[in-house]
Amino acid sequence: MAHNILVVGEMADGAPTSTTLELLGGAQGLAAGGTVSVALLGTGASAAAAKAAGASKAFVSDDAGYDAVKAEQWLAALEAAVDQAGADVVLIAQSSAGRELGPRLAARRKTAVAMDCVKIEDAGGLKFTRPAYGGNAMATYSVATSPAIATVRAKSFEAATGAGASDVVQLPAAGASRTNITGREKAVAAGLQITEAPVVVSGGRGLGAPEGFKAMEELATAIGSEKAAVGASRAAVDLGWYPPSQQVGLTGKVVNPDLYIAVAISGASQHMAGCSGSKTIVAINRDKDANIFGFAKYGIVGDWKAVVPALVEEIKKAK
């Protein structure tokens, strides 16, 4: 069945984010003859629309009032975009903004949202699949109302490529918001973000000390700083060994990389909730019975202190 799909875009450095391009790629596959549109809000939106591959139409406002996402302002614009696009499906990133926009847009349109989807397919109607119970289960839903809304995990679809939107429709400037942002503070490790990186190297409590993360960073650098980032388990973050922004798990970031290397991580379900969607998991752990090996494709049973430097050396050799 044909679907008119609206992708709620987000921007970074004047272009649609990689997740936005993935949503557009997913939308192209699901539209089946329907239209794919994108909404882009904030400074540079019109220019970014030309880079929104996969969208035929863009609903934009360049108003800087949209730059820091205040949900109430965005919701008013998105409702207008849903109407004008005739959208029966809305795709939103499972991001800080998306976590708030999805449910509130659903409430305003008297419909429902499936949060944190990792798969959407047309099988006699759209089916939305997402992890639940800390990753112990998967749940597949259908939405009985229109538009069907989903927030989608990064790396769930292949990114769209090619030309951006040619038909650009202006949305009104940002309206009122009852909440007022009084400050923002950046707190991230430098470089590639773990949610965007094709390879994530994560360390856990089993590293034994914060210095262990130096070895994780060396491994990431050996793989390539342009594609590998370093994550941490909640236990390691709670011990203050690595910043909260790098936490992988139910209460941290959900990552979906091509390769997830879990070092000295036991694999508690709350951690696996953040990484079980990885295409390949490699586990390095001293305990051959660790839960993580149940999820891993490849494993090394051994002491990370010996294994990780050896791995660094072998990767360098192979390059």
Partner: protein, 267 residues
């Protein structure tokens, strides 16, 4: 300040994966033998946030509300033992098997019935379904502003001062009252009630409201009112059998791993 804390009782998230079972016929989790359900950890943290505001503002009151089975009394009693003043259980067969929307409809109706509520605090998500939307849907139902994933919340001249956790840092914001806030684990650990508080909480009465008490149409709540239809709940296949790298030395194991990853074209 009158703050409502929404609390949910869930299967213990620490249940070992081997004890986690799903009944395919009903699409429900089979309660693990001998493992009691618990208060969702994020809701305990939301309660902590509410209690700190109560302690900082004389004359404040905290009411804990839970929609769920009769056993959810235990979750309510836990928040009462932490220091909440009153508890309300929303237990009715009509509420069962709903979605986030119907849950929010029921909670919002209870909040309206209480009448004098200044703020609603929820956990950032329930640690069973992990949707993270009930708090926002309650806010939309009530027509109140909302802030999600808070690591700090205090009262201020503008109403509430909130620090949110974003993917790349933190955001400070002000929300006028009444408002809904969802609280994240970055807020800090919830307090553990001591025995005298647990004893005192056991004596506190918990009000039970049914669908009729809330003036709700049974067709608008529970399974009948839900918009998100659960088609299938299943245990995902794990990556399969792990292939352990052979080798007498870490070097040999590492070389074997790199060879595999190169062959798979992921390195």
């Amino acid at each position: 300040m009158h703050i409502v804390v929404c609390a949910k009782q869930i299967p213990d998230p620490e249940t070992p994966p081997s004890a986690f079972k799903i009944d395919a016929a009903t699409n429900k989790v089979v309660p693990a033998q001998g493992i009691a359900p618990v208060l969702s950890q994020f809701d305990a943290i939301a309660a902590e946030a509410a209690l700190r505001i109560k302690e900082a503002n004389a004359g404040s009151k905290v009411t804990v509300i839970s929609m769920g089975a009769e056993s959810a009394q235990a979750a309510i009693k836990q928040v009462l033992a932490m220091g909440a003043d009153e508890g309300v259980l929303l237990n009715d067969p009509a509420f069962e098997d709903g979605d986030s929307h119907t849950t929010a409809t029921v909670l919002a109706a209870a909040i309206k019935k209480l009448g004098d509520v200044d703020a609603v605090f929820c956990g950032r998500q329930a640690a069973d379904w992990d949707m993270g939307q009930v708090g926002l849907l309650v806010a939309e139902d009530l027509g109140w502003p909302a802030a999600i994933i808070a690591k700090g919340v205090t009262t201020g001249a503008a109403g509430l001062q909130i620090t949110r956790v974003l993917e790349d840092g933190f955001e400070s914001l002000e929300a006028p009252l009444p408002a809904v806030v969802t609280v994240s684990n970055e807020f800090g650990e919830p307090r553990y009630p001591k025995l005298p508080q647990i004893m005192a909480a056991a004596k506190k009465t918990v009000t039970n409201w049914k669908v009729g008490d809330l003036g709700l149409d049974p067709g608008a709540v529970g399974k009948a009112g839900s918009r998100l239809k659960l088609e299938k709940l299943f245990i995902p296949e794990k990556g399969g059998k792990v292939e352990l790298m052979e080798g007498d030395t870490p070097q040999a194991q590492a070389a074997a791993l790199v060879a595999r990853l190169m062959a798979d074209k992921i390195l």
